[in-house]
Symmetry: C2
């Protein structure tokens, strides 16, 4: 009997070894071989190999991702701004007086050129009217309904399909290696939370974004609910990103991914920690498959937050790695061939 047991045990060992000896499937199949892919693979290997001097304990494995332009398309206009503009008719229907004043009049007329010329102050009025004043549950329902129907004019697809396949692979790869993945976005925290789980596998509690206050109250049946208030608690962009990370996570990230000047401080803060750290910037240099803007055009871009030549220089000097969409990514979207 002993002989057979040994045989069985040997089989088990061989089977286990066989599994190990198999070539691991490439965790980043949408990436071309190159410095960017290699940096990600090495970072994960170094920080998760026990005994490695660069090992990072599982609890400390925090990775933060900007959203607009880093995980999905931000050009030519942030999806959330489209959402707010699309919501204006419903808001005016509920409060007809608004339709007689600017900037709501212009938005209702639907003249794209006039809308594009609205000032930052006008935009803030539109955001305030469309993102606050309702209960958090109502807001969630409205945003969900919009996401299910709205389409990007260039690709004629829902915005939810315009996520970058290579970055989804990075998210999964990091999570498979014990990293907790967070979104740290200048966009609205409540807005991104509506779809972050479905699109990125990131639960609401791991979405850090620009956040307004809420107010606790009771409906006529005594049931409590929260109303979204026009009071900004956290402007989660630029220096607000490390401030938001401290507020919401309380740990310094080990890895951070961005694409614009709005991510500069998050990347600086990440790299300033001790031990192994990874900082990466997505460069939009693929006019054919997506867009080219920022230094890819050789010019500082007027678009708020785009990766500028100055930021590209800072990246070079500080060991941040720039991801070229054109060169590093085999495909941009999951629907690409």
């Amino acid at each position: 009997m002993t002989r057979y047991i040994v045989t069985l045990a040997t089989c088990t060992v061989l089977l286990a070894a066989g599994v190990r000896a198999d070539a691991q499937p490439d965790p980043l199949p949408s990436w071309n071989d190159g410095a960017a892919k290699q940096a990600i693979m090495e970072f994960v290997k170094d920080t998760t190999t026990e005994g490695s001097p660069k090992f990072v304990s599982p609890a400390e494995r925090i990775a933060t991702f900007d959203q607009d332009g880093t995980l999905w398309v931000e050009h030519p206009i942030y999806s959330q701004v489209v959402y707010c503009l699309d919501r204006v008719p419903a808001v005016v229907k509920a409060k007809p007086a608004l339709g007689k004043v600017e900037p709501f009049k212009t938005v209702l007329l639907g003249n794209r050129e006039a809308i594009a010329k609205l000032s930052m102050n006008d935009l803030i009025k539109i955001l305030g009217a469309t993102l606050t004043g309702m209960s958090v549950d109502e807001f969630e329902a409205e945003a969900k309904a919009w996401l299910a129907s709205a389409k990007d004019p260039r690709w004629k697809r829902p915005y939810t399909e315009l996520t970058y396949a290579p970055m989804l692979e990075v998210l999964k790869y990091l999570r498979a290696n014990g990293y907790k993945t967070y979104i740290v976005t200048g966009g609205g925290q409540d807005f991104v939370r509506v779809y972050a789980d479905q699109l990125y596998g990131i639960p609401p509690e791991q979405v850090v974004g620009s956040a307004g206050g809420t107010k606790y109250g009771y409906d006529k049946n005594g049931k409590p609910f929260l109303t979204k208030e026009p009071k900004l608690l956290l402007n989660d962009d630029n220096a607000g990103k490390p401030e938001g990370i401290h507020l919401m996570i309380g740990r310094r990230p080990r890895a951070a991914f961005g694409n614009s000047t709005g991510d500069r401080q998050m990347l600086e803060y990440t790299k300033a920690g001790d031990g192994q750290r990874l900082a990466m910037l997505v460069l939009h240099d693929d006019a054919k498959r997506e867009y080219a803007y920022g230094p890819a055009r050789g010019l500082p871009d007027t678009k708020v937050g785009a990766l500028t030549p100055a930021l590209a220089d800072e990246a070079k000097s500080k060991g941040w790695i720039v991801i070229s969409m054109k060169d590093d990514w085999k495909r941009i979207f999951a629907f690409d061939e």
Copy 2:
């Protein structure tokens, strides 16, 4: 050979069955049998049994715990307030002018009766001077040093040993069943984060508390750091608790534990959700082993936030379960026999 394989397989099955048939160890050994223990056990069973109409998906398993008076001793004075008072000499040493004005003069004199009479405004000045103005790293180092040396005058033990053993069991039991456990405290978020992992197994990113802003800046070497600012972003008490839960977690808890009027809205908000919910209040009615205050003394307590008779009545009418420290807990602290 086949026979032996079958025998081995059978053994394996029997072994596995044997493990399953073993009586499970009691997950709450510090609890006496009673309505409170039963409510916790049933809640976990109902919400984690697949196919049960009360099943809750793992992603939705969020449990929130007040800290002071719910997870550790808060009487007669919050540990964090002791910390702030203890920090006053060091703060005055750094800024001598403070030592000549109230309330710092009174604190420096060390007259306990006079200190106990300080107004809320005085307290806010002390909190401001001792909790802000330094980098988040300096603050963490100072709080850690204090926790390592300070002792509670009654038990002559570090504050960190004054956690309630039965509640630590509840935290572990919920986590073993897929619940993500959060602290939701009126105390300082940064303060509680310093020790929450060590004391409760709760990582910094799962501590929601009263939080001030931070300011991003650079030291003389260009290294970025965050400074704690005297600007309150979230007063995480009373209605601030559900507001803080929305801000920091973005999901309604399935279970919430508190002990005072400051937890009323968190419990209301938790129970107002659909499906199975659990709301519990710790009643301090054990003058011998800990303290008796609030309705246990038959009187509204003057202590800010204590469980009042009115709150006990609300609990009864709304199906919240009151935990009697005297009757429900076999032991209070891990160091009790």
